[in-house]
Amino acid sequence: MVGSVHTLNSELKNDPEYSASLNGLQTASEAFGEHQATGVFIPHFPESWFERSSSLKKIIWCGSATRKWGECGALDHCRTPEFYDDDPNDKDRHAISKSIFWRTMRSVGCHLEKSVTSFDPELKYSKHNQPETVVWSNVFRVGGPNGEPSRRLQQAQIQDCIACLKREIHLAKPNAVIFHTGYLSTNFTQAYFGAQDVGEDIPGCDGRVGVYAQAKTTVPHIWMTRHTKHTDQIRISDALAALNYAGVFK
């Protein structure tokens, strides 16, 4: 079992399939060595996601790879407070406040959490100021020395990454999973994921909906296809239109 997973929810921690995937990722990370691969990224799901009585809207917001993962070999580094506390003067770190991925995620989370006063979208993203309704996850879970994993590292981890993500969806039961994975989307990630494209674009945005074939309950999987150069507002309105199409607001 991967060590130092103190932030992992018990539902995930006690799941044998999830543990097996994490162990596979840990093995891949160690095979590359501490100077060539980071520790394993583990998303944090709030406990409220697993409360059956909760009426919380739950969205998994899935990126491809994190540009800056912190130090290579620092297992679970992504879960430390330093990872979330954004320092605008530190240009070498990931830019939680500056990245369009995070800005869009924050705004959509705010829209879904109008009644939640503890989350302030104008504040910097931090471990104390996360939208509870939106959980960040990634396709790739182990980074390289410069952030994004090399293709060798991608090949070494992709099977376990997909297994991990599938298990997170199965256990956390989100209302939708929304992928911002660039060109990996329809042909690559989607194919690995075994999702079926329904073959139609979502009205009002550049996104497509797929159906996750393995899940007993139908969880909409939304692949955002908008080109990365588009603005925040277009991306936010696209995401909201896609979630609306997927029935999240009903």
């Binding site: 293709r151 060109y183 042909n187 690559f188």
Partner: protein
């Protein structure tokens, strides 16, 4: 789907403006080693399966891997012997997976052109934005690994979309190897840029001769010689192009490499009439000296089929 892709005009072979290659040569000759990476567990594509049998396919995977472990070294040594440079049809993921091969090619001043990211990831179903991302990745990755700005494109596993040629022209690529309609270069009708259709070949491609047709090495040698002789003869009238597309997992097998050398010896014996070049050099020369003539001739013959027309 369009009824006709209208990628080029029908342009009869006879009577075209005469092409003369640098130094008065009659035939431009280039060799295109495909340096590819096939994934062991590739993602599925609804329109094409990467392996003929079930995944994982250990046998097919390891057969391709022979090229990257043994075959390229053997082929490089042979081409070195005749001072021939390759124009590498590159799955750009190779830059990550086997940088040693890239370094060997760079040391020999070989050219790289893009053959997509992996040979197990197809263009079918890609949106223009996704295909643009593949091109961006190709340009960036090869530039980082070799310092070269790629100018040629052969779609991964020869899989295309309706947007492929317009996109590569828009990205200042100079030539495409994806069309097989001619033995001379020809301007393609893209919305922007000056994209040349470069004679590549399926006929003398070792995949076709060995994997599809099942020919023996001596027959392949014979085919290459006859192909060369005919194009050289016609090159007296107007310069032709011959490409030998190769895959090291096939041509570099121990029992095939010497018969292939026999074909190279035959070609080298006619060196006075042959311009040994790379794909980029041929495309550059054609664009500079014959592009405008070709378009004018097509217009003068009244054979243009309309459509988007050539780039301004």
């Amino acid at each position: 789907m369009k009824p006709d892709p209208n990628l080029y005009d029908y342009w009869p072979y006879a009577g075209r403006p005469k092409i003369v290659w640098p130094g008065g040569k009659k035939l431009a000759f280039w060799i295109a080693p495909n340096i590819e990476f096939y994934e062991f567990m590739p993602p599925t594509n609804p329109q094409r399966q990467p392996w003929p049998n079930a995944i994982p396919n250990v046998q097919q995977y390891s057969q391709r891997d022979f090229g990257n472990r043994v075959g390229h070294q053997r082929l490089m040594e042979l081409l070195d012997k005749y001072s021939l440079r390759g124009s590498v049809s590159l799955n750009v993921a190779l830059c990550d997976h086997h940088p040693e091969i890239i370094e060997d090619c760079v040391a020999r001043d070989w050219e790289f052109f893009s053959h997509g990211i992996y040979n197990t990831r197809y263009s079918y179903g890609l949106s223009p934005e996704q295909e643009q991302a593949v091109l961006d990745d190709s340009i960036r990755t090869v530039e980082k690994a070799s310092g070269q700005r790629i100018r040629g494109y052969l779609a991964p596993a020869l899989t295309h979309t309706e947007h492929t040629l317009d996109l590569i022209a828009e990205n200042d690529f100079w030539y495409s190897c994806d069309l097989f309609q001619d033995d001379q270069p020809q301007p393609l009708k893209t919305k922007t840029g000056k994209l040349v259709s470069m004679p590549y070949s399926l006929e003398v491609n070792d995949v076709i001769t060995y994997s599809v047709m099942g020919f023996d090495p001596d027959r392949y040698t014979d085919m290459l010689k006859r192909h060369f002789d005919q194009l050289l003869k016609e090159g007296e009238r107007s310069g032709t192009v011959m490409c030998i597309p190769l895959h090291a997992y096939l041509v570099s097998q121990p029992h095939r490499i010497r018969p292939f050398e026999a074909a190279l010896k035959h070609i080298m014996a006619h060196r006075d009439d042959v311009w040994f070049a790379t794909g980029r050099e041929i495309a550059e020369y054609y664009r500079e000296h014959y592009w405008d003539q070709a378009i004018a001739d097509i217009a003068a013959r009244g054979v243009a089929t309309g459509g988007t027309g050539f780039a301004a």
